[in-house]
Symmetry: none
Subunit: 539 residues, 2 copies
């Protein structure tokens, strides 16, 4: 093959192999939405599923998405033993469903004789017949050699004869699958190098699994050895430990190895968004530490690092975050030196004079609070309030003078039938010269307290619009001091959202979970009022 060939084709299997993941069950609508996202990224091949295997895949192929850049591929199996290709219902169904077909077959002699229980030659005939037959029905056929690397190690000649049978019968690609995911990068490199001496690399693909956490490295090793198609999934979704993660492979091939993967630089800036589309469909929190696209991928916490990053980002960033649609974050923490905290202030637009006394106090205050268990990483809104208060920029909007929460349970009989269940909160709040008192119920003490506080603030005309918008979307509790039973110090983090789609996170800490929750709630409401430019009525 021509090693200078810099075009690597991408093949996405999120909708087929990704579907095998524990806990994943795509609907046809999910599949369509994900296919459209892959199309936006210009992935060459989108494997839609296995027609005939389940009702979802049938529904998807019956009404396939219109794709602008990508080609839809159907997955299936070579013909059954002892049956002609033209007479095989599986192959017939495949031909009807998509312009491109990828068929899986055996290349490990042990699997042929043990799992299929057939002659080795019959397996080669099944491969060749199926490829040759479908080649006359669809525009492109490829062959997935299941267990190729285990097969090669057990019987090199037979494994090679299986993929040669496919190639010689007209397969556009023969794809080498590390089905069990146990092969290491140097083995992959050596074996693919050998394969590419027999079949041009421009027709060789690689399909890896992450069982040793090497799926990305294995895919890159295969490309270095000459393979020119890479199969994988978004975010590494897939059975067991997942498939090779295309979200990591794409920028590495493009930005570090100089390959053309059919994705433009503009499309690459959508990488983070595309990764998040899959998480949304799965109702999962995106992985913070995901390579390239995670929230933490360009986050800087250590104090030493931060001052260096500000001087020159190349000191601690391997690529520019903007290239993959990500951005730099400066984090605040116990680790942080002063420069860290000051950088964070600048990021949120608080103008600070590093020499002022107020700033010095603020830095000490942050450090002390973090020692107490506050964690301002991921609770930027509470951090901003603290800073603006220290700078004298924050008005007080209301003052809670007292609250009381009552939580009651009564059971009726020996069978523990619960007959009374009640959570009630009372708050007294001062706004300006007015004192308000309100009471509300909830399905738990914090929910009741939240309801009672809002009830008051909604009666203040100037606050109403802002408060009405606040929606609490996540509530996390963490015990900080351990080994102390129910006396432990608790950290509550609340994430809120408004009608314009802004998200913000606030934090509260106390030995009392109700009080910790109240602190985080208070910050959440105050932050929204501040950001909405509402004038304080408290005076």
């Amino acid at each position: 093959m021509n090693m200078s060939d810099k075009r690597v084709y991408l093949y996405d299997s999120t909708l087929r192999d990704g579907q095998q993941t524990q806990g994943v069950d795509f609907s046809a609508a999910d599949k369509t939405a994900i296919a459209k996202a892959l199309d936006e990224l210009s992935i060459d091949y989108i494997e839609g599923g296995w027609p005939g295997a389940n009702p979802t895949d049938d529904a998807f192929f019956a009404n396939p998405p219109k794709l602008k850049n990508s080609k839809l591929t159907a997955f299936g199996m070579t013909r059954r033993a002892g049956r002609s290709a033209s007479n095989d219902p599986g192959l017939a169904s495949l031909a009807q469903n998509a312009p491109i077909v990828c068929m899986v077959g055996k290349s490990w002699d042990f699997q042929v004789t043990e799992a299929l229980g057939i002659e080795l030659d019959e397996n080669l005939a099944m491969i060749a017949d199926s490829i040759a037959h479908l080649k006359t029905k669809v525009s492109e056929v490829m062959f997935d050699a299941e267990h190729f690397f285990d097969g090669y190690k057990a019987n090199r000649d037979y494994a090679l004869s299986a993929i040669k049978a496919a190639y010689e019968a007209g397969a556009r690609w023969v794809v080498l699958c590390d089905t069990n995911g146990g092969t290491l990068p140097d083995e992959i490199f050596d074996i693919v190098t050998d394969v590419c001496s027999q079949i041009p690399g421009a027709h060789v693909g690689i399909h890896c699994h992450n069982d040793t956490e090497n799926a990305v490295a294995n895919s890159l090793a295969a490309v270095r050895a000459g393979a020119r198609q890479v199969q994988g999934t978004l975010n590494g979704l897939g059975e067991r430990c997942g498939n090779a993660n295309l979200i990591s492979i794409i920028p590495t091939l493009m930005l570090k190895m100089g390959f053309d993967v059919g994705v433009s630089k503009d499309q690459l800036t959508q990488l983070r968004r595309i990764s998040h589309i899959l998480d949304e469909r799965l109702n999962r929190e995106p992985t913070r530490q995901a390579a390239y696209v995670g929230d933490s991928a360009f986050a800087h916490k250590g104090g030493l690092h931060v001052s260096a990053v500000e001087k020159n980002p190349a000191c601690y960033e391997h690529v520019e975050p903007e290239l993959v649609g990500n951005q730099r974050h400066i984090l605040v923490s116990d680790q942080a030196g002063r420069s860290n905290i000051l950088a964070r202030f600048r990021e949120i637009g608080v103008d600070v004079d590093p020499k002022s006394e107020a700033v010095g106090k603020l830095v000490e205050n942050v450090k002390q609070r973090e020692f107490d268990g506050y964690a301002y990483d991921g609770a930027e809104a509470s951090f901003e309030l603290l800073a603006r208060k220290a700078m004298g920029e924050l008005d007080r909007y209301f003052r809670v003078t007292s609250f009381r929460v009552i939580d009651e349970r009564r059971w009726g009989d020996e069978q523990d039938e619960q007959v009374i269940t009640m959570s009630e909160a009372t708050v007294k709040v001062v706004v300006g010269d007015d004192q308000f008192m309100s009471v509300a119920e909830g399905n738990g003490p914090v929910n009741a307290l939240d309801a009672a506080l809002r009830k008051v603030l909604l009666t203040v005309p100037e606050y109403r619009d802002a408060v009405e918008q606040i929606e609490l979307i996540d509530y996390k509790v963490r015990i900080i001091t351990r080994g102390d039973g129910t006396r432990a110090v608790t950290r509550v983090m609340i994430e809120s959202r408004d009608a314009e789609g802004n998200n913000w996170a606030t934090v509260g800490v106390s030995t009392n979970i109700i009080e910790a929750s109240y602190n985080a709630l208070r910050d959440s409401i105050t932050y929204k009022l501040f950001k909405s430019g509402v004038r304080s009525q408290h005076g």
Copy 2:
């Protein structure tokens, strides 16, 4: 170097580099617990932190854990420019804190001139002086060459001269750091090969980050090139995208590459447990698809796979799950779920007849509860109570007919001085024919409820001894349903201990955190009474 040298040393940086992770803030108690877990696994070096950098690390080194197998290491920096090593307060503090010291320094010329703003030769002197000085104070000194790979690519000779300065001054190890995490495995291999031609590989270490999802592969490439120390963290914890994941590297080095990493086969079977200890400390759900140790790592979903796996596990498993303390999971059939639950019953010593109707109901009950959010993994005591109750083996000891918790806060003035703070719980409890009522205060609602309930049970002479012993040592809260604000379903897990040193964990689930906590508390007390062989007075 002698390439046949099969001993690779492991260096864990969970407590130092792992601490840099967004959202991670270890307490000194966390650090001690994690160090003990690492010691159980026989990790050669445990980096405890950076003495002098923050109060937590100071507290940890002031009272270091007693280690049986591992050696504690302190992290620090080479001497400052323009100061003698013997006069550097950082070095002096390092020498006092641990028998082994690892110092970081620059090896990239650009960083020396730009970030430090000093002459290249002064940097070499800083390295050599610091190593030579500390070598006289502690038993072992190593050098972390920050940005080594970027430095090598920019100026090979200077990067090599930096590590040679450290080696020649007496560093036991020079550790090559891919600080930005952007180097690819083939580059690592080539560069480490070159380094090992100058410094014996038996003195060369590797420290990788996962910014391209290649940290594991990079570490393995360095070992293949001759490096004999691998630095990493548990579960790949660490700044940005994390450090190299020792949990993946250890079994690969041992089981696939034939290296001795100082971990015995028996210790290797603790790998999954050790991985989970870190997650527990971080109050994180373990990653299902983690290589080797994840719940999904040996889970089989596809119907085709499952029958093949049952015939011969080697068809779809790259190693035996038991070697790393994991197990095979068959996900498809209800039948598999059932035998799984039955196996768990047998594990805790509950003798079940699979054909009995009670068992059928129990299995359905467990499945329903797990669907509701109960997690009996890690809450074996609650699971056992459920099983024994279904089998008619569990007496009821008491019946709470009602409880009420009142939580109140009052503030005095505009400065938010808190003047009244009160958590009070009232319970009504029936034991046999007697009805008790009691009230207690606590520093939070759950603590008050716990106190009130104990107050009653301590008055029952037959229960007194057992109840007196119960100590709640951990209390964890996790929100299960997301995106639902303070209405979310909450899971509370309580860990208890008795005077004989037995530990047990119980679980409660509810939308109301007080009720979830009560359920877990009730189970904890019931379990202790049952295990103590106390006869029920409830009748």
